[in-house]
């Protein structure tokens, strides 16, 4: 990754306080075009809080977030998603009462033309648009390997399939910068491999990805660059090889290391 790569996301001086606790403390970093950047750090380091701040779910006290030069700070989550910054959630998050197909259709919301009057009047262009959406949904389900489960309820899926569905929903929103929050947590090795393959395909298309993960092997294999957080602060920023032997990172994980053996 040359330093001449375009900067896609700039986080500048981000600080977030909860009650008396500094969840994020003066965090500054950049994400370059086409790279996979992982945020790591022990529990409570502030990784998900950074995601929440970037995507508008939490309002930071100070700091700025710029996406392709445009300010994201202060926007509502749906507006940020509309700009192509789409996040997944740490805890399994689905539309449980809907079918798998329905879930992905909802994810395709941004692709639909907003025309309430046309809908009510039942214009045939609406039906045509619907069919296009349904075709896109099938494409995504096939890409994720979920098309055989299309008519099952989201809540009835196995855990691994639910996690895949979550990614499918996020993909449906056509993210230009996906933020994946612990996507492989709870997956068995086979599911992880499947996920990695899918991640590779997305990368090949040149999509920039921001990742929060605990699973060290996934992080080392998938990432171009890693940023390590601890107590809300950045303690390291470099390539996987640099991070692996970084003394601060090792120290931060001491005690966590044994329970977080990758894979």
């Amino acid at each position: 990754m040359t330093s001449a790569s375009a900067i896609v996301l700039k986080v500048i001086g981000l600080s977030l306080r909860f009650g008396g606790l500094m969840a994020i403390d003066d965090v500054t970093f950049e994400v370059r075009d086409g790279e996979v950047l992982s945020l790591i750090g022990p529990n409570g380091a502030g990784k998900t809080s950074v995601f929440n701040a970037i995507t508008g779910y939490l309002r930071p006290q100070t700091g700025d977030i710029l996406y392709k030069g445009n300010r994201l700070s202060g926007l509502q989550p749906h507006a940020i998603a509309a700009r192509g910054v789409v996040r997944t959630f740490q805890k399994t998050s689905l539309f449980g009462g809907q079918t798998v197909f329905g879930n992905v259709l909802i994810g395709l919301h941004l692709s639909a033309r907003q025309r309430p009057l046309a809908i009510i009047l039942g214009l045939s262009s609406v039906a045509r648009d619907e069919r296009k959406l349904e075709d896109s949904a099938w494409d995504i389900l096939r890409f994720m390997g979920l098309e055989s489960r299309a008519h099952e309820l989201g809540s009835a899926l196995s855990y691994g399939d639910q996690r895949l569905l979550e990614v499918a929903i996020a993909l449906a929103a056509h993210p230009r910068l996906p933020l994946l929050d612990e996507p492989v947590s709870g997956m068995n090795p086979t599911e992880k491999i499947r996920f990695m393959r899918m991640l590779d395909e997305i990368r090949r298309e040149g999509t920039t990805i921001l990742l929060v993960e605990h699973d060290m092997r996934t992080v080392m294999d998938a990432s171009d660059r890693i940023i390590c957080l601890n107590n809300g602060r950045i303690i390291a920023d470099g390539t996987p090889r640099e991070i692996q032997s970084h003394p601060e990172v090792v120290r931060a994980y001491l005690g966590e290391r044994a329970t977080r053996a990758g894979g």
Partner: protein
């Protein structure tokens, strides 16, 4: 439900005034139909979008009063020597205004719903309806208060020289209510099966996730509220020009409760639910009255039914029947699945 089945049902319903000539039964069917429209509108907000709106009767009543007042004409003194007078308007225009006024209130409620959540929204919506009721009772100059608005003109379409349709007699009113309720059903079905409807369902099921895929929660809350309120207002306007007398009791909380019972018992979040619930709770009181059962007992029965439905059939009748039916059939593997709307299959 396929187009053919729907056409058949509508066709059958259309024949009713031809063989059911008793004005009493027609009256029951007409008022039940009006209530079904109100219940369908409530279902959009309560069932599909998951908003605990218990002030729905306010929209119904506002539609009724605005339409009635415009068709009768009115004069109010806003200051000591300044009077605002409105000449009587044609009924069809008044009804449109009534629908519009209700929709406007729905807009306000939708905006509030975003700020005020859960149990608090329940209380706000009930309070809103009560304030409107008290205004209707006390602003006697405008509304005649408890003495009611009388002699509300019926709907007349066309011109006296050419073809004039007068919706005064019961059979004509029956067809009018049938037509409007069918139209409302179609509107809701189209909405629910579109991306807008999916957005409403999404924000009911998982709001943070909905936001993360770009769904503007406020926008869809407001959309649901406006359409829901406007439809209820239309039902109210229909009511005003059918019964032709409107008093502040139309705003009583108990009518919201009836609508809620219809929606919940039938199956909230399903298209057929409010219709099934509406038929049951529209016709049941008459049946009980015919059997000589005291109204208090009837209400106790309603209360008990509500509790039982919550415990035994928590999704309502339509989804329960749906599940029963699905367990008997098997899905052919190559059928393209349809999106599940709420908790029932689309009809």
């Amino acid at each position: 439900m396929t187009r053919w089945k729907s056409a058949l049902i509508i066709g059958f319903l259309a024949t009713i005034p031809l063989w059911l000539t008793s004005p009493y039964f027609l009256h029951i069917l007409i008022t039940t139909g009006i209530f079904i429209i109100a219940a369908m509108s409530l279902n959009l907000l309560l069932g599909f979008t998951g908003q605990l709106s218990l002030g729905h009767v306010a929209f119904f009543g506002i539609g009724a009063y605005v339409s009635a007042l415009l068709s009768l004409g009115f004069e109010v003194h806003v200051a000591d020597d300044f009077a605002l007078g409105v000449a009587p308007k044609p009924v069809w225009l008044s009804m449109l205004f009534g629908t519009f006024a209700a929709g406007l209130c729905g807009f306000a409620l939708g905006k509030i719903a975003f700020k005020v959540r859960g149990a608090y929204f329940v209380i706000v919506s009930i309070s809103f309806a009560e304030v409107v009721r008290l205004v209707a009772v006390n602003w006697v100059e405008l509304t005649q208060g408890p003495m009611a608005l009388n002699n509300i003109p019926p709907l007349k379409l066309g011109t006296p020289d050419l073809l004039e349709l007068s919706f005064l007699r019961k059979p004509a009113c029956f067809y009018l209510v049938l037509a409007i309720s069918a139209a409302c059903y179609v509107i809701i079905r189209r909405l629910v099966n579109s991306h807008a409807g999916r957005a409403m369902i999404a924000l009911r099921e998982n709001e943070p996730l909905a936001m993360s895929v770009g769904i503007d929660v406020t926008r869809y809350l407001v959309l649901a509220a406006v359409i829901s309120a406007a439809m209820a207002g239309a039902a109210g306007a229909l009511y005003a020009h059918y019964v032709r007398i409107v008093d502040p009791d139309i705003f009583l909380f108990i009518y919201t409760v009836i609508m809620v019972i219809m929606v919940v018992t039938g199956g909230k979040g399903t298209l057929a639910g409010p219709i099934v619930g509406g038929i049951i709770f529209g016709l049941l009181p008459e049946l009980l009255r015919a059997l000589g059962i005291k109204p208090e007992l009837q209400w106790i029965a309603f209360g008990v039914v509500m509790i039982l439905v919550v415990f035994l059939l928590p999704q309502g009748i339509v989804p329960a029947l749906d599940n029963r039916w699905k367990n008997r059939k098997r899905h052919p593997p190559d059928v393209k699945p349809s999106i599940h709307v709420g908790s029932g299959a689309p009809r």
